[in-house]
């Protein structure tokens, strides 16, 4: 880890990665959970500075990593499925493919809505420039403003969804790596 990254970690007290990696590692070695190794991993400065955040980010992600490691070890893919269901990299690949497809659809819709909003505005401009009377175009301009606001809202929502989908894809890719190199 570079000095810059180390200093940044001390400053933010973000031990997420250390916690997750330690959890995975302990789980793969089949050793009992030991969250107190956080005390060895934290930089001494973080005993004073941002201790709460450092401790929480390590221990919560340690649990997550430990659980993920167990899932891979025991090939139990989902807590909602009956025991014994096998987890394979094919499952992961299928899930990634589905997430990719929705990602593509949402990205296209976002672009389409933006283009459509612009084209609709141009249509209204054409209507305003002599084609229709003002008593038709003025209300339409107001309607377009409300429409534009709703499109903005939906685009923001899609952006949030795309971010969450990306996180899930990264999680699955990590799990695939663990499954390939147990």
């Amino acid at each position: 880890m570079s000095n810059e990254n180390r200093l940044f970690k001390i400053y933010t007290g973000d031990y997420t990665k250390n916690g997750y990696d330690s959890g995975i590692s302990d789980s793969k070695k089949h050793i009992p959970k030991n969250k107190f190794k956080v005390l060895k991993i934290l930089h001494p400065i973080n005993y004073i500075w941002k201790f709460g955040n450092s401790f929480d980010s390590f221990t919560k992600n340690y649990d997550k990593g430990y659980l993920d490691g167990q899932r891979v070890n025991h090939q139990v893919y989902s807590s909602t499925q009956p025991k014994g269901t096998n987890m394979t990299t094919d499952n992961f690949s299928n899930h990634l493919r589905m997430l990719n497809e929705v990602n593509t659809n949402l990205t296209s819709l976002k672009r389409y809505m933006n283009d459509m909003r612009e084209n609709y505005k141009k249509q209204i401009d054409v209507a305003e420039n002599g084609l229709f009377l003002e008593d038709f175009t003025n209300p339409l301009k107001e309607k377009h403003q409300r429409f534009s606001g709703k499109v903005d809202g939906m685009i923001s929502q899609i952006d949030r969804d795309l971010g969450k989908i990306k996180n899930q894809q990264e999680h699955i890719q990590r799990m695939m790596q663990i499954a390939r190199n147990p």
Binding site: S78, H95, M98, L99, S108, Q123, P139, K143, V151, M154
Partner: protein, 97 residues
């Protein structure tokens, strides 16, 4: 431009604009359905329950926004333009008498 030509242009405008708005609504519904299909397939394919719950919630929120936007387009825009379109058609039919 003659009155008849102007009316025809206005009528053409309403047709084109309604088409684009209907296409947009169709596209939003298509993506919403595909999104829902993906959630169902993930649920059937033994997806991680924590991530599945998150994606179900995302889909529910998306469905609500999609429904809000498509209704807005139908009720505020298409209905308004349709009224104008009918009025133009009525005027044009008087011309042709």
């Amino acid at each position: 431009m003659s009155n008849a030509q102007s009316l025809a242009n206005q009528f053409g405008w309403t047709i084109t604009t309604k088409d684009s708005l209907n296409n947009l609504n169709g596209e939003i519904r298509y993506v919403e359905n595909k999104y829902g299909d993906m959630v169902d397939m993930l649920a059937q394919g033994g997806y991680f329950s924590e991530m599945l719950n998150q994606i179900k919630q995302m889909h529910d929120d998306f469905s609500n926004s999609a429904s809000d936007l498509t209704k807005h387009i139908e009720q505020e825009h298409l209905a308004y333009i349709e009224t104008q379109s009918k009025s133009l058609m009525s005027t044009m039919s008087q011309f042709s008498k």
